[in-house]
Amino acid sequence: MKKSNVVMLAAAILPLALFIFPLWNITLEAPQYPIPLGMNIHINDFTDAHPHDIKNINLMNHYVGMKYIPEAIPEFKIFPAGIIATTILGLLIAFKGNYKWFLGWFILMCVLSAAGLYDFYLWEHDYGHNLDPKAIMKFTNPDGSIMGFQPPLFGSKDILNFRAHSYPRLGALFLGLGIAASFIAYLMGKKNHKKAMST
């Protein structure tokens, strides 16, 4: 087996780590929470960073009329299926395909990841803006519009008394490594191909 195909094989397998490690994490810090509240986002589940964190986030958020974080969302079915499908595709390519297919897989993964991030953004936006009209506390921005409580997509942000942090976790790292590896495989494959052509 060619070196580039071995790298492609690794690229296809690496995203499977998403089934073990969380993809993303949102952490909320406040003076009353010396141990911050945190939620891990997996491709198939939301989990507490510490026991009962999601319940306690919901309790906090109900004051401003935010919906409860759902037990399940459709994405929990779609994302795992997508990962399994792309991994199988990646494996087929690693065994059968040439470097051009590697690039194809790389582009596919980039597009799908971007779509996933956009979906995450939409959910966050709805979660932060689609507020109960009977909310206990209503806040407005300086311009008079209703204040939203959307956590950042990436990075840190102050939301009332909380400081919210939103960062990728180990699962996302493995996914990123997989995608990068497929591109490296493509470059290696291309180089080999050129060498083969020249000799």
């Binding site: 306690n56 309790l59 206990i136």
Partner: protein
């Protein structure tokens, strides 16, 4: 003239400079002294103390939890007392904890806390404490800091030589101060001598779940068994009790019990008696005593009346019990970390007597006896004496050890703590106490491994030491640094109730295991509503059970109708929170009981018997959240003969 004026001015200036310089000097040196003591007890905001101290409340029946070295009070744990703040002894769940053979006894005199041990070292699992008046032993669980078990001690009165634990917490031991007829019967007090008995109780502690059981009682002669401590290390397997009133007086004891030149320390080989009992020895005698257990999962206590107890006549177990003559009504009975020295603090003696365990064993083996008392061999004073601390002070009461070869004894009459050396018996230092010290405590002092950094002196009198508060002034403890050759007084701090004795240990032993919440899924309370969907109101004759929940910031249900005058309404309320430090309270107007203070995941019950027609509010009593003031509800009470059906709701218009 001008020059004179100038000179005067210069002189006065110099004087002022000199004086103020002097002033600043003296204030500086005072400041330096004060600040060094202050620095030693200063625990910065947000920082934690190095030690926990569990200080008994005496006649308050409680146990208070302090931090050392700061002397800050964290919690007052109700043990033998009702506590309206925590509903302890008021709510339906904890009332059975105060049940006794005499019925509900909501008070006692709590004296001697002792922390459980493993292999001779403090393990921080439980604190045991005795109720002196209606003899009881309580166990406090140090994951919840709540009293979880109380066992009544039969055949006992003035449960004072208690509640000390053996090296592996095999037993918590309770000795009677007042001898009584056993079994209790109608007889003349004048027939005390030879007829009254002193019961020394050995309560086994289950190594797994800590459950207490009255294993056996040794029926000793009718002396007063004052204090006790276990043997440790080489003397593990023995227990030592001081006695006074070996005269067996029954009246005017201050004179009549102070006649004998020497009383005794009773040495009990409990291992030998345990073996005897395990082989069927002793007799089961009829008895009646309460055993109350609080279950952390049902959040409910049950009281069981036990009907018999195993008693052992000490003369039936050869080699199990000996008497060590000890001068003048000894009070404290303290064993050093090595287990070799047994200090008898003869409270009316000018000297402090120390016995040697090795010498005692030697005297027993060579049968060097000096008669007997009711068949119990008496050893010769000279044969067991290790040494005497000569004229250390007046009125010795208690001794603790620092683990570095030094002992610290309190002197009640001369009001001081005296440091002396084990083996050489020389006095090293003495420091006054303010005033009239009783017990003292070194963290881990009753174990093989004391943490000899501080000694805490617990005083009986404070007089002018604090701002006055009328005729009744605060009780007090004092903290001394004992790391140097000389002791240094660092801090006075007030205590809750009379601090008889205390037990201390490094905070790290307890802190990591302290529970934050009760898990809702583990709540097995009979009347728990584990979600708002489970809430309901059920009528059974004139008994009404409300299955209610509370979470920030509402009760469910919060509107109830169909209650009638004459009903007995049980509010069973579950706190659905699962976050640290989010208790909710609840109280109902006119309820003849205390509030409830319910921890996350816990269920508690109060009873309300409405006597007046109307609409009556209830509310959350613990400021729980930004919407705490909104956390309230109404109950409609209709006339006795009304036919309004029960209904309940939350959030309906």
């Amino acid at each position: 003239m001008k020059n004179i004026f100038k000179a005067c001015f210069a002189l006065s200036f110099l004087t002022i400079a000199f004086v103020s310089c002097n002033n600043s000097d003296s204030s500086k040196s005072n400041g330096a002294l004060t600040s060094s003591a202050a620095e030693k007890v200063y625990v910065a905001p947000g920082e934690h103390d190095e030690f926990y101290a569990f200080v008994s409340g005496g006649f308050s029946g409680q146990l208070s939890v302090y931090g050392l070295p700061s002397g800050r009070l964290f919690k007052v744990i109700p043990v033998f007392s009702q506590d309206a703040e925590k509903a302890w002894g008021y709510n339906e769940e904890t009332k059975p904890m105060l049940n006794t053979s005499h019925g509900f006894v909501p008070w006692d005199d709590s004296h001697h806390p002792d922390i459980s041990q493993t292999a001779g070292e403090i393990d921080g699992r439980y604190v045991f404490i005795n109720g002196n008046n209606t003899p009881r032993i309580a166990k406090i669980d140090l994951t919840t800091f709540e009293t979880t078990e109380i066992i009544e001690v039969p055949n006992s009165a003035g449960n004072h030589s208690s509640s000390f634990v053996t090296e592996n917490t095999e037993y918590v031991v309770a000795g009677t101060r007042f001898s009584v007829p056993v079994p209790q019967r109608d007889m003349s007090i004048k027939d005390y001598k030879g007829n009254f008995k002193g019961a020394l109780s050995f309560i086994s502690v289950d190594p797994e779940n800590g459950r207490m059981d009255m294993k056996f009682q040794v029926m000793m002669p009718g002396f007063n068994y004052d204090l006790s401590h276990p043997g440790r290390g080489k003397s593990h397997g023995w227990f030592f009790f001081t006695t006074y009133n070996s005269e067996e007086a029954h009246s005017l004891l201050e004179v009549n019990a102070s006649q004998n030149d020497k009383d005794f320390i009773a040495a009990i080989n409990w291992k030998k008696i345990e073996e005897y009992v395990n082989n069927g020895g002793g007799t089961m005698m009829p008895a009646n005593y309460a055993h109350n257990v609080y279950d952390e999962h049902t959040h409910t206590a049950t009281s069981t009346m036990k009907k018999e107890v195993r008693v052992v006549n000490p003369t039936e177990v050869p080699g199990a019990v000996y008497l060590l003559p000890t001068p003048k009504s000894p009070h404290g009975c303290d064993v050093d970390p090595s287990g070799e020295y047994i200090v008898g603090n003869g409270k009316l003696s000018a000297n402090l007597t120390v016995h040697s365990f090795t010498k005692m064993i030697d005297a027993i083996e060579n049968e060097k006896f000096d008669g007997d008392a009711y068949g119990i061999p008496i050893l010769k004073f000279e044969d067991v004496l290790a040494g005497t601390v000569e004229q250390p002070g007046l009125g010795p009461l208690h001794t603790e050890f620092d683990g570095k070869g030094n002992a610290y004894t309190t002197f009640f009459i001369s009001s001081e703590v005296v440091k002396w050396k084990l083996g050489t018996w020389e006095v090293i230092d003495r420091k006054p106490t303010y005033y009239s010290v009783g017990h003292l405590m070194i963290p881990g002092g009753n174990s093989q491994k004391p943490f000899g950094k501080y000694v805490l002196a617990m005083n009986k009198i404070t007089k002018d030491r604090y701002l006055p508060t009328g005729p009744e002034v605060t009780q007090s403890a004092q903290l001394y640094d004992i790391t140097g050759e000389k002791m240094e007084l660092l801090l006075d701090f007030p205590t809750v109730g009379e601090p008889h004795y205390a037990a201390g240990c490094p905070a790290d032993l307890i802190k990591p295991r302290s529970k934050k919440i009760f898990k809702l899924e583990e709540n097995k309370h009979e009347y728990a509503a584990l979600s708002e969907a489970d809430t309901k109101v059920v009528r059974n004759g004139n008994e009404v059970h409300v299955y209610m929940t509370m979470i920030r910031s509402h009760f469910a249900p919060d509107n109830i109708e169909g209650i009638k005058v004459g009903d007995k309404v049980y509010f069973h309320i579950t706190n659905l929170e699962q976050d640290y430090d989010v208790p909710h309270g609840v109280s109902m107007i006119g309820a003849n009981t205390s509030e409830l203070l319910i921890m996350p995941g816990q269920t508690e019950t109060f009873v309300w018997e409405p006597k007046q027609v109307g609409v009556w509010p209830f509310y959350c009593t613990d400021f729980c959240s930004a919407l705490h003031q909104e956390m309230q509800g109404y109950v409609r009470v209709s006339p006795r003969n009304s036919n309004i059906d029960l209904s309940w709701s939350l959030g309906e218009d």
